[in-house]
């Protein structure tokens, strides 16, 4: 099917314009950011046109690069290594070290890049309508654009320094965007929390990068001629059998801590649900394709380091898989007690990120990356759907229990896209989530992590159940509160700090949300009840829902080998290559095979996969840049099992919801108050496992307060005592000095000098005119005279 004649293919290969210039992709939005900041307010659309245009341009560039990469990969042999397209320029030099900027483009880069550009474009279009009339509209678009630029920069990064650059840009922009409506205290607290929590993890990023650099630099310089920051250098180094055990273990662990912070893994996941304080398009972008995926991407990008450092195929558990597994379960459990629709989705994101981490930790690299890909579409769709509901139906409220219910009749498009995305999230066949999530679970079991396979299946059950609950509360049953057309005047945020009225900025009167003076509400016009959102909002929803169905077919393992396109395009083909093959800037496919590989390579295929020593033993006569991983063989029986579990979760949850919320079944309503054990569990969940309390009260107070108390004690007793003692001695001494020295000797001198000064002052008085310019003139005049004198003396 890819039989575009070989001449045409080779023509594209030799040109490869988009691939070789992929570094432009993050530069475009960065430039757009500057344009928005400087000229945005004067433009007819207040700067959003720059943002959208730059996103479209990035999308076109990524699309071109993806096409060319696919051509290139298809043109290469089945198991032949395709070199990444690497370019690098020196950014700065210091102490003999060179720090580069550049690009490292391969299948993983392009998969994530495409998703980021695509989702960013849709989110920006959506924001035009959603934030219409916002007081910081221009700044919002500026931050949003820079945010995407940061993510793209991180994705194309050639080395760790560039990766950190993009990573930190994202951290900063997430702070600005989450706190976009900072007039409300809860929002700025959430922004600070997100910033500080991710910064805690970032310490690991810096530490890990340094550890790896000092461990690897000599080897990479000698073998590949690249620095120890370079991603391909580190990958090759990790698999070379060269690194010392402790260096790579500590490096990988430190980097993983960074990934924990950024990707909201247990125990640093607490910032992510609070990040809902930002405008909904931000949540959507943050939680689908950018910010939170950064940590997963870091692990996927430097996979060889983690593979060796965590001994991924060597045992039945490791740091990554344990953290991932814990995250899946605890986040899914938390999603059950949320009443805010966006928080349900937030915990669902945390849980899905847990799947990705678990997959990576268990050697299911490709399914995890594919899950990044599919998850981006359906989660963006769900978030934008929640935004659509609050925008048009529930008066900017996100409370499912108070202000929603029965919305399926009023918002058919939002409802339809929501249902499709929910099914995809739950992993129902044939929606996209099935093909990625089921593959993760399957491969985790296949690689010997049996316990975690069951964790994954349990997570699937919980996912299905809480999503059913959210869907029921939002779209079924009787309309409540705002959804029923009521005007409620109490606002939100009365019960917990995170409840935020999405549009309650500053001067906005709470008493009547639909006052004529509220500019952004003008489009509601005559209709006060719930209604469908305008086309700028529903179009992105429809596009994303279509992808939530379709994107799974890119790697539909059940349908046979010819459907595994994502595997073919993204997974690095594993073979031993010569070091020069990696260092070339643009290596044609196969330019790098070693002679040894050409001869002695019996294609010992296992499930159609090439068997390479990479990752298992030390490569001879060359280097490896990716470990050999095997894929589980798809079995319908296993898929059927997980389908049954998902359906079970949906049915049980549905029945319980109907009984609890609709029929008000006596046996269920208030169960948590009557049963002590259930009540305790419920409070444990509502308080988010007391992690926030632990961080704020125990860690922050426990460390900061004793330190300050001790400092105060030292100040009062030790320092003050010393000061007072010294003071007493000084006083006695000074009494004597005063009588003898001061009165006689000093005063005489002072009086005399005072007289002299007065005379001089009278002489100089006209100079002190009080005119600053005149002082300047005097200063420069004096300096000029001084300079002249110097010149004369020296010549």
């Amino acid at each position: 099917m890819f039989a575009a004649s070989s001449e045409a293919a080779s023509a594209v290969l030799t040109s490869g314009f988009f691939l070789e210039n992929a570094w432009v992709i993050p530069v475009i939005p960065a430039v757009a950011f500057a344009l928005i900041i400087f000229f945005g307010r004067k433009m007819p659309m207040k700067g959003s046109e720059f943002g959208i245009l730059s996103m479209v341009a990035s999308l076109v560039f990524s699309g071109g690069a993806i096409m060319q990469w696919i051509d290139r990969v298809n043109g290469a042999g089945e198991d032949q290594y395709v070199a990444p397209i690497v370019k690098t320029w020196t950014w700065w030099q210091s102490g003999g070290m060179e720090f580069g900027l550049g690009q490292h483009v391969d299948g993983l880069t392009l998969a994530v890049l495409g998703v980021v550009a695509f989702i960013s474009t849709l989110v920006q279009i959506y924001s035009v309508e959603y934030l219409r009339g916002d007081r910081r509209y221009t700044h919002f678009f500026a931050s949003l654009t820079l945010f995407s630029a940061g993510m793209m920069n991180m994705v194309v990064a050639e080395n760790m320094i560039q990766l950190i650059l993009g990573w930190e840009i994202m951290g900063l922009c997430s702070f600005m965007l989450i706190g976009h409506w900072w007039e409300e205290g809860a929002n700025s607290r959430a922004a600070l929390k997100a910033f500080f929590t991710t910064r805690t993890g970032d310490v690991g990023l810096l530490a890990g990068t340094s550890i790896l650099f000092f461990a690897a630099n000599d080897w990479t310089q000698k073998t590949l001629g690249v620095s120890g920051f370079s991603i391909r250098g580190l990958s090759a180094w990790a698999l070379s059998g060269e690194p010392s055990h402790s260096a790579i273990v500590w490096g990988a662990a430190a980097l993983f801590i960074a990934a924990i912070g950024k990707s909201g893994q247990f125990p640093l996941h607490t910032w992510l649900p609070d990040a809902m304080a930002g405008p909904t398009p931000v949540s959507s972008l943050l939680h689908s394709s950018t910010m939170v995926v950064a940590g997963v991407f870091l692990v996927a990008r430097l996979y060889p380091v983690f593979f060796e450092g965590m001994d991924i195929l060597g045992g039945s558990s490791n740091f990554i898989v344990i953290i991932g597994g814990i995250t899946i379960v605890i986040a899914a459990a938390l999603a059950f007690v949320q009443t805010d629709i966006k928080k349900v989705l937030a915990y669902s994101t945390v849980s899905q990120l847990g799947y990705m981490m678990m997959g990576l930790g268990a050697g299911a690299w490709l399914p995890a990356v594919f899950h990044i890909f599919t998850h981006a579409f359906f989660k963006a769709c769900l978030f934008l759907g929640a935004g659509s509901i609050s925008h048009s139906a529930s008066h900017h409220s996100f409370e499912m229990k108070k202000d929603m219910g029965g919305l399926r009749k009023f918002m058919p498009v939002t409802f339809g896209t929501w249902i499709i995305s929910t099914l995809a999230l739950c992993g129902v066949f044939p929606f996209s989530g099935f093909f990625s999530k089921d593959e993760i679970i399957d491969n985790v079991g296949h690689n010997g992590y049996t316990l975690f396979m069951y964790v994954g299946l349990g997570g699937a059950f919980l996912t299905a159940a809480y999503m059913t609950r959210a869907t029921y509360l939002t779209f079924f049953g009787e309309p409540r509160g705002a959804a029923a057309g009521e005007h409620h005047d109490d606002g939100h945020g009365d019960d917990h700090a995170g409840a935020h009225d999405d549009h309650s900025h500053g001067d906005h009167a709470h008493a009547d949300h639909h006052g004529a003076d509220a500019p952004h509400d003008s489009h509601h016009g005559d209709s006060h009840g719930p209604h469908e959102s305008p086309a700028l909002i529903t179009m992105p929803l429809i596009i994303l829902a279509a992808l939530a169905i379709g994107s799974g077919l890119l790697n539909a393992v059940p349908f046979g080998h010819s459907f595994e396109n994502f595997t073919k395009w993204v997974e690095p083909r594993v073979e031993v290559i010569s070091p020069t093959g990696l260092a070339t800037v643009v290596g044609g496919p196969g330019a790098s095979r070693t002679a040894a590989e050409e001869e002695g390579d019996g294609h010992s295929t296992e499930e159609g996969h090439h068997d390479s020593p990479c990752g298992k033993e030390t490569p001879k006569d060359g280097i490896c840049v990716a470990p050999q991983l095997s894929h589980a063989k798809f079995k319908w029986s296993k898929a059927a099992l997980s389908m049954i579990i998902v359906l079970l979760g949906m049915v049980i949850s549905w029945v319980l919801c109907v009984q609890l919320y609709d029929r008000k079944n006596k046996a269920l309503v208030g169960l948590t108050e009557r049963n002590a054990l259930l009540g305790r569990g419920y409070r444990f969940l509502v308080n988010k496992y007391y992690l926030d309390a632990l961080y704020e009260n125990v860690i922050v107070r426990g460390i900061a307060h004793p330190v300050s108390a001790a400092a105060y004690w030292v100040n009062q007793n030790v320092l003050d005592g010393a000061v007072n003692g010294a003071g007493n001695i000084t006083r006695k001494l000074s009494g004597w000095v005063y009588r003898n020295v001061d009165q006689r000797v000093v005063d005489g001198t002072v009086n005399a000098s005072g007289e002299a000064a007065r005379g001089l002052g009278g002489f100089l008085r006209p100079v002190q005119s009080g005119k600053v310019n005149q002082y300047g003139a005097l200063l420069f005049g004096t300096a000029a005279i001084g300079a002249l004198v110097l010149v004369i003396i020296n010549t």
């Binding site: 100089l764 008085r765 002190q768 009080g770 005119k771 310019n773």
Partner: protein, 99 residues
């Protein structure tokens, strides 16, 4: 080596800056002129540093930049206070310091 051009540029900038400090009434413009002077110094430092091949001049120029940033911060704060108190930032109206 283009040392001459560097030095001439530095001297021109310096002179413009001195002119600005002496002749301008507007406090903000005076501050900007001071920046010009500092930067002309930087150019000289860099020019000589490049010529001698040692990084000292570069380092020193970095310090100058940092100090200049602090200086302009203090300066602008003063201008702001002046404006709040007097509704004007014309320097020639400020003669309280007259001795």
């Amino acid at each position: 080596m283009l040392l001459n051009q560097f030095l001439i540029l530095g001297a021109v900038l310096f002179s413009i800056g001195v002119y600005g400090v002496i002749a301008r009434r507007n406090a903000v413009l005076v501050l900007m002129s001071i920046e010009l002077i500092l930067n002309s110094v930087n150019i000289n430092l860099l020019a000589f540093s490049l010529r001698s091949g040692t990084p000292d001049g570069h380092t020193f120029a970095l310090y100058v930049i940092a100090v200049a940033a602090a200086e302009v911060g203090v300066g602008l704060a003063m201008v702001l206070l002046m404006y709040r108190n007097r509704r004007s930032i014309a320097l020639d109206e400020l003669a309280e310091m007259k001795g």
